[in-house]
Amino acid sequence: MSAAHRASAFFLALALTIFWASTAQAKSITIDDSGSEALEPSVTMRWKTAAPSRNPADNVMLGTTTIRVRINVMPWLRHSGRIYLALPLQQPGPIGLSWTTQGRLAPGRIVSGNRVLVYAGSITAPFMEDTLTFQFSVNGALMQRAVPVTYHFEMDED
């Protein structure tokens, strides 16, 4: 093997080793929620109050949507785990999210950049389903146009 081949193999091995190590340390796994379905195509954001405040910082826009959540927890079937709803930091800025549920998952509230526990216990079925009513809140000054907001469910295995 030439020196060049040896060098490239070394760097490849090093790179893969680092990749392996970093993934092996991950504790939370994003859950497949491709079965979830929104009852509305988009979230209509409206001012919390029709008339504004004397203080521009008080301006908040709210929007509500209902999602039939169906998450695939088959990989953890007959195990115990903790499921979180995670709302990453993203544009257009700080986002508040609160939700109610039908009881399968826990209600809660969150600010972007955090996650909140919505289930803890045994996974007894391959899919977990609930209907969640979300309310988003955003500083209206940031809402110049439609913005996509991403959230996901993630599993921490016990």
Partner: protein, 221 residues
């Protein structure tokens, strides 16, 4: 086998292990997903301007909503013959009864000395340029016989109970015919001032009742 070659074999061993790991991860990430909701600003653009009396269903902080009010208020002064034209400005008073801000019910203006002017400009979302408030002013106040007093003889100061800082509707003097800007409203804020009018009283016009109508207009971008 050289040490280097042994090293390559070790790497291949790691490569297989890593490949297995990558395949497993691909299986997980391939089925994992995030949900994306589209947030669409959809409030109607709304403006509210009140000069003198206005109408709200309730104070804003109690959920009040703006309403139309067609009342046209007046500001007037009767100049006594003894002081007519002596150069001492004569305070004008209004028939407006608007003293409280519809924002919170706070007693902001004092009547009959002050005329309330205020309102808000709501965007569909985001901040925009300020809305402008203009006055369309006739050339002069006139009486029944055609005599006139230039509108520029009337000016106003601006304040508000408990206020500090610059007024959104500052002091000014009417132009003699034309459109003049009398204030602005930053988007998504409540703005209000109390105007105190006065007549310059530095000329002696013929005796009479002189009137003129100023139209205030709010224009939002």
């Amino acid at each position: 086998m050289t040490p280097a070659g042994h090293g390559v074999q070790t790497s291949r061993g790691r490569l297989r292990r890593a490949s297995v790991g990558a395949a497993l991860l691909a299986a997980v990430s391939g089925s994992a997903s995030s949900y994306t909701a589209s947030l669409n600003p959809a409030s109607p653009q709304t403006i509210y301007l009140q000069v003198g009396v206005g109408a709200f269903t309730n104070d804003y902080i109690y959920g009040g909503q703006p309403e139309n009010n067609a009342t046209v208020n007046s500001v007037s002064v009767t100049v006594a013959a003894a002081v007519l034209g002596n150069g001492t400005a004569q305070a004008m008073t209004t028939n407006s009864t608007a003293t409280q801000s519809f924002w919170d019910g706070y007693t902001y203006c004092s009547v009959p000395a002050q005329l309330y002017i205020g309102g808000f400009f709501r965007t569909t979302g985001a901040a925009t340029a300020a809305a402008q408030v203009t006055a369309t002013v006739p050339a002069a106040l006139t009486d029944a016989t055609g005599d006139s007093i230039p509108f520029s003889k009337i000016q106003w100061t601006s304040s508000g109970n408990g206020d500090s800082g610059a007024e959104p509707f500052p002091a000014g003097t009417f132009v003699n015919g034309g459109v003049q800007t009398v204030g602005s409203m930053a988007s998504n804020t409540w703005n209000e001032s109390c105007w105190t009018f006065s007549y310059s009283n530095n000329t002696v016009p013929p005796v009479g009742t002189y009137t003129g109508v100023v139209l205030y207009t709010m224009s939002a971008p």
